[in-house]
Amino acid sequence: AVMASPMNSDSGWFLALALGVSFIKCLLINAYHSTDFEVHRNWLAVTHSMPVSKWYYEATSEWTLDYPPFFAWFEYGLSHVAAYFDKEMLVVRNLNYASPATVLFQRLSVIVTDVVFIYAIKECCKCLREDKGKELLWKPSFILATLLLWNFGLIIVDHIHFQYNGFLFGVLLLSVARHFQSRHLEGALLFSVLLNLKHIYLYIAPAYGVFLLRCFCFTQSKTDGSVHWKSFSPFRFVVLGSIVLTTFALSFGPFIALGQIPQVLSRLFPFKRGLCHAYWAPNVWALYNIVDKVLSMLGVKLGMLDINKLPKATMTGGLVQEFQHTVLPSVSPLVTLICTLLSILPALFHMWYRPSGGRGFLRCIVICALGSFMFGWHVHEKAILMAILPLSWLAVEHREDARTFLILSTTGHFSLFPLLFTAQELPIKILLMLLFTIFSFTSLKKLFRGRLVSSVEATYLLGLIPLAVICELVYPLTPWHHTLPFIPLLLTSIYCALGVTYSFIRLYISLLTVPSTTSKGKCQ
């Protein structure tokens, strides 16, 4: 009757972590949910009630279907289960329908589909280089599992704000894990499926393309790491290509047959929306905007600009629209594309010429994700998670990555605060943020034995505390709260943009300067 055998203590902790976080998620069922809740309810209704040919044309609700077809099929599958909870949510005309059964169903669907994420994390932990002698709480696999399972950003975005990122990141991490395990075809299949679930993962498609070409299609490398051109395997290339093409064909096939591709593409890539989201994601363009604003104000003060010629400052008025810069040249989507490509090209070249197996691939993914976040058009602040989650994996293995991770995750997570603006959720976001931050700092410090962040970085991060106090507590009590409601958003965005940019630079520096500790040119 002894309760814990050694076997239990080894695998029990993972289950406890997973159940624990699911428990917290269940408690958040009745928390605030954003318009994304209605978005998904609408998609349930549209896919359930309308025939396939109407899915991308349906416009009764303003939240039209703007994810690729596989996600639509996913919603279709969910809608059949939804019918048991509340049939009314599947009626397209029931806009903003949110009965308790609807809320319960939708929340549970996110929690249940997170199973994919949990499984993927388990696979990732298997790929780690373990140190057997360590105590449980400070083992790399334990730390990684906690950093991923209890990731603050993911919990906030998925289980309060409402989205399905958990399961999508599960597919991504599983795909990466498969590449680590040299099961490249599975990895490629998973990524193609992922692209057809949410096209934002195009941000990291270049990394996949270059990696698969370099490490899978070219079967050998020369001793100095450069590519052995003759080892190109057409067979592998064809198999890979066919997997990708089949997936896309399955996904878009029906719409090609119906001749709806232009409409689908216009729904998926709505370019009219403006350089920045209503809340500026903390990227380069946020800094660009603020510099422009400062220069224009200076220009007016110094008499160099005529105030009547300036357009009214409507960019942060909460409306999503195109905006012309006044002093600095305005930025078009093409410019952002070029900037993004320029920012990720060095990393891609580095992976081509000096591949270092799975870890190099992972690093390239992080850089591509972060580069696209920094320079992309109309980036949502939630996209920072695409960089933070894979970086967690690198963080438990390298000291430098741990340092970058701490900076990026803390500022990235803080930049998500404006997503939850209700008073009821304020304690939750602060408590969970503190929990995650304390854990990440102490565990990584313990793992790498010693201080990780420099004093300057620590000061910057500590500066987040007064910033939070100002934005959440002090500002709402001031008279400017009603006249200039966007100031806290602006401050958060700018302050975090500094941290994110710094992390991006650090990632590049560590990529280009650190000598590869694994043998050069290894693709495994």
Partner: protein
Amino acid sequence: MDNWSLVSMCVLLGLTTRWAVSFNSYSGASKPPMFGDYEAQRHWQEVAYNLPVHEWYLNTTDNNLSYWGLDYPPLTAYHSLLCAYVAKLINPAWVELHTSRGYESSSHKLFMRTTVLIADILLYIPAVFLYCFYLSNGSSKKKVATALCILLYPGLILIDYGHFQYNNVSLGLALWGVVGLGSGWDLLGSLAFTLALNYKQMELYHSLPFFCYLLGKCIKQGLVGRGLFLLLKISLSVLATFALCWLPFLSEPQQVLQVLHRLFPVARGLFEDKVANTWCSLNVLIKIKTLILTHFCIAFSLALTFLFVLPSSIKLLTKPTMWQFKLALVNSSLAFFLFSFQVHEKSILLPALPVCLLMNELPLMATWFLLVSTFRLRRAFRTVTKICGAVLLARNKSNLSLCDLSLSAVTETALFLPFVQFGISMAAMAVLSTASAALEPPARLPDLFPVLVSIFSCMHFLASLLYFNFVQLTEPPSRRGQKKTN
């Protein structure tokens, strides 16, 4: 350094759980005319703020006692007064005399929930950590794990943050009392407990062990000399505290009687609703409530309660150690819960707290008891409770596997407690929960599921009573020596 981060993470987890539970609805939400406990607490704030002290417990035109009249001792009223002052600053409409009845708004809910959270942060949570760090054995990791388990006890969280009450204040003060006695600060400990008693009269369930422990200690130190001096000190400080709390009411003996009358509503009968105690369960077979006269019932219940409390108290009197004290707390409160009159189902928290304190030494029994007690409360929030219970268990198991289990395992197997029975009990609870949530009861027996749950829990509680009494009275030789045996 490690400790601080682990402790802060535990506190954050505990607070997050509590606040997340508070998102749900409170007792009596949108249910006029009487609403529920939430409205009761708000009403007491209104009464305490607007009426002079000597009218709080009286039935006057301004204070209609049938609408949630004050039925807790004065300290609750003072606490309500404090909250009312804050409420008045934020929004006076919340505590306006008469007009604020049934006031419901999201900001008010936020305010009320925050008052509970603050009480937790100031009283209950520090007491838990002090207890775990100074009065329990094991590595620091084990102490933190125990603290986390205690903090995550679903029963208290659900009642305080879901249903809405302030049990954390009285239980927190009682825990401070335990910590005080355990650390050798008898005076402060008894002071804290007296305050707990003055907050909720249900703490009387715990009073006998406190009394016996302190008396036993005084006797041990010799009834002439130091012991007597200690006894006098404690008695005087207790009396002084009582006097201080009841000061406004001491001017007239009538006042005191009226307050007592409110605190102990003898007229209300043996039990109300479906409580998992013996009377309610017996009532299924023999209709005690209708067959036997009220005062005979009371005498009977009193007799039985004291019968079950006596062995444990005498043992504690003769051997005043912390281990005995904790067990006596469990036994006494459990006996009161099972056999006393007018027991509310929320009173299960009173035995639950000392059982939490036993988690280190008797992990299996403690977890089992706590799960059953939570299961008993599941009527309020079905899904959440079930998951709470399951996760608490998983947590326990993971914590136990993290720590050194061998000693406790030996103790428990020595007391022949097969794991199998525990498993069967868990399975039965799962079945009952799903059945009551998913199935409709047959028309002839509309209360089938609550009654089944009641009887199931009652049997478990009776078994626990016997078990804990057995542990206390036999005190097996292999128990590890408690560090603070004073």
